[in-house]
């Protein structure tokens, strides 16, 4: 694996430290007392059957759950030593540092250029916008395809391109963590392969947490895997181990496809 050599250098630093995190919708728990660490420059995959709470957990990492009526979060999520849900933490600040890519590509109905530029501009970016746009699109492996039509509407792009645009848009904010909620589920296999390649390249710079339905995908791209079921974190570990010799029977049954 690409990251093996890096792994041995030093104990990795945890970017996000989840401590007994529960997420409740109107009192009903969707995520129950999850504790784990998200390590810097690693890809962490969250897998599990539909409705197991993996998306909910992901969305609690950048406070996107705040918009859901009747949601409560218990426990602590430490980001750079500070609880994301602390009293004096501004969720806008959290989302600026922890970016997100959604299940369905959701570009703004604007030009490709302004899709990328909008986030930085509202957050007071004062460098060269053209450079930032080019850099972000290059990082998302989209620059070559769109460099001649930056002023065209983003909605004219294909689904796969749109999703890479959304990744570029998130990267333009230079987030510390990139959360991805089943980013390939609406894409064809070729676009999916594109994005998986992309993730490999991105992890040298970013920390990535990805929710996926696709276990092969988790096995291919992630360094760590979390397996969830009915809101519980059943097992968390190095991806190789989870997929080859899981400690828990339930995990083994799921990754070998005996249920779920």
């Amino acid at each position: 694996m690409m990251s093996d050599s890096a792994d041995k250098k030093a104990p990795r630093e945890a970017v996000l430290d989840l401590q007994q995190v529960s997420v409740l919708y109107s009192g009903k728990p969707a995520v129950k007392k999850v504790s784990c660490q998200i390590l810097r420059n690693c890809i962490t995959a969250i897998i599990g059957p539909s409705g197991c709470g993996k998306s909910t957990l992901l969305r609690s990492l950048n406070r996107m759950n705040d918009f859901v009526d009747g949601v409560t979060i218990e426990g602590e999520i430490l980001f750079a030593g500070q609880n994301l849900y602390g009293r004096d933490v501004d969720p806008v600040e959290v989302r600026r540092r922890i970016g997100m890519v959604f299940q369905k590509p959701n570009p703004f109905p604007k030009s490709i250029y302004s899709n990328i530029a909008w986030g930085p501009s509202i957050n007071g970016y004062d460098g060269s916008m053209d450079e930032l746009v080019e850099r972000s699109l290059t990082q998302a492996a989209l620059w070559e395809e769109v460099k001649d039509r930056l002023q065209e509407s983003a909605l004219n792009l294909s689904g796969g391109q749109q999703q890479r645009l959304c990744i570029a848009r998130a990267l333009a904010m230079e987030p510390q963590v990139l959360l991805m909620d089943e980013p390939c589920s609406a894409l064809d296999p070729i676009s999916t392969a594109h994005i998986e390649d992309l993730l490999f390249q991105l992890k040298s710079k970013y920390t990535i947490v990805i929710v996926t339905h696709n276990m092969q995908q988790a096995a291919r791209i992630s360094d760590f895997t979390a397996f969830m079921e009915m809101g519980d974190l059943i097992e968390f570990g190095v991806t190789d181990q989870i997929f080859t010799r899981p400690n828990i029977k339930r995990t083994e049954e799921y990754v070998t496809g005996r249920f779920g």
Partner: protein
């Protein structure tokens, strides 16, 4: 029949016949109302068209039909519609934005929502009485343009708010999520994305509402817009008359000539309406294209 199916009891033919019948019924209803409207328009045009000339447009009212014109009413209506737009659009759209994006979904929001819907159904004369009591008397704005505009704004606010809310609700949640995930505040999300995306829908509501305002007579009569005005309003505090009032006035006279003048006035009113709507639709389609 086809595919060698044994299930002739599917009654396919009967079902298709029903579908055709329903289509026909709908078409008949639609076309009969269109026809009715066409007949109405035709009659009005026939009666009034011979009276429409520059003299008619540029003269003040007179007790001699061939010297009477709608200058004062036309200018009054223009004033009124601009004032109403300036008052009702910002208030209506802001209220809709507040209710949809900022206010919670609690009981109070629900109560406000129901009440706005109810207000939309209140007869316009009631707004006239309200305007008379509040604007004309209490705020002592007298029988001025501003009183009329404020009253009309009250009248159309519910429609603007309801239509704007519908348009705002229709903006996909994923667009808001995208904006928030980039560290946008609620205001930035609303101003840069939700509002532009809902603009065409809001515009439709505004067109419908202003069209209603331009044709309303009862509230204006109630607040005492004048019927015989031989001067042009110079500012919002001046007294005024408007096209529907002028038409109403002419219709209520016994002479045939004045009835024809009324028809001519209706044609002018329709033209103003058409012009206004065309402008609005043009703006709307331009922004719609930009969003695609």
């Amino acid at each position: 029949m086809a595919f060698g199916s044994k299930e002739e009891h599917l009654n396919l033919q009967k079902r298709h016949r029903k579908a055709r019948l329903f289509k026909l019924l709908c078409a008949a209803v639609t076309w009969s109302s269109v026809l009715l409207l066409a007949v109405l328009l035709f009659q009005v045009c026939v009666a009034g068209i011979s009276w429409i000339d520059w003299q008619f447009i540029s003269s003040f009212p007179s007790r001699f039909p061939d010297r009477a014109g709608i200058k004062a009413a036309l200018v009054g209506t223009m004033w009124l519609i601009i004032l109403v737009a300036l008052i009702s659009i910002p208030i209506g759209v802001s209220s809709a934005l507040y209710l949809e994006e900022f206010a919670g979904k609690g009981r109070i929001a629900k109560i406000i929502e129901v009440n706005i819907a109810n207000l939309g159904g209140v007869p316009s004369i009631v707004y006239g009485i309200l305007g008379l009591a509040i604007f004309v008397r209490f705020f002592a704005l007298e029988r001025s343009l501003i009183s009329g505009a404020l009253t009309m704004s009250l009248l159309i606010l519910p429609t603007i708010i309801i239509a704007s809310r519908e348009a705002i609700i229709a903006v996909p949640q994923s667009m808001r999520a995208a904006a928030y995930s980039l560290g946008a505040t609620k205001w930035q999300t609303t101003w840069h994305h939700v509002l532009p995306a809902s603009f065409p829908g809001i515009m439709t509501g505004i067109i419908l509402s202003l069209s209603r305002a331009i044709g309303e007579t009862a509230p204006l009569i109630m607040i005492g817009a004048m019927t015989f005005v031989a001067f042009l309003p110079q500012g919002p505090m001046d007294s005024f008359t408007a096209l529907p009032i002028q038409i109403y006035n002419w219709v209520s006279r016994p002479q045939q000539e004045f009835h024809e003048l009324a028809a001519a006035g209706i044609v002018v009113l329709l033209l103003v309406l058409l012009l206004m709507n065309a402008t609005a639709i043009y703006i709307r389609s331009k922004t719609e294209r930009r969003l695609k």
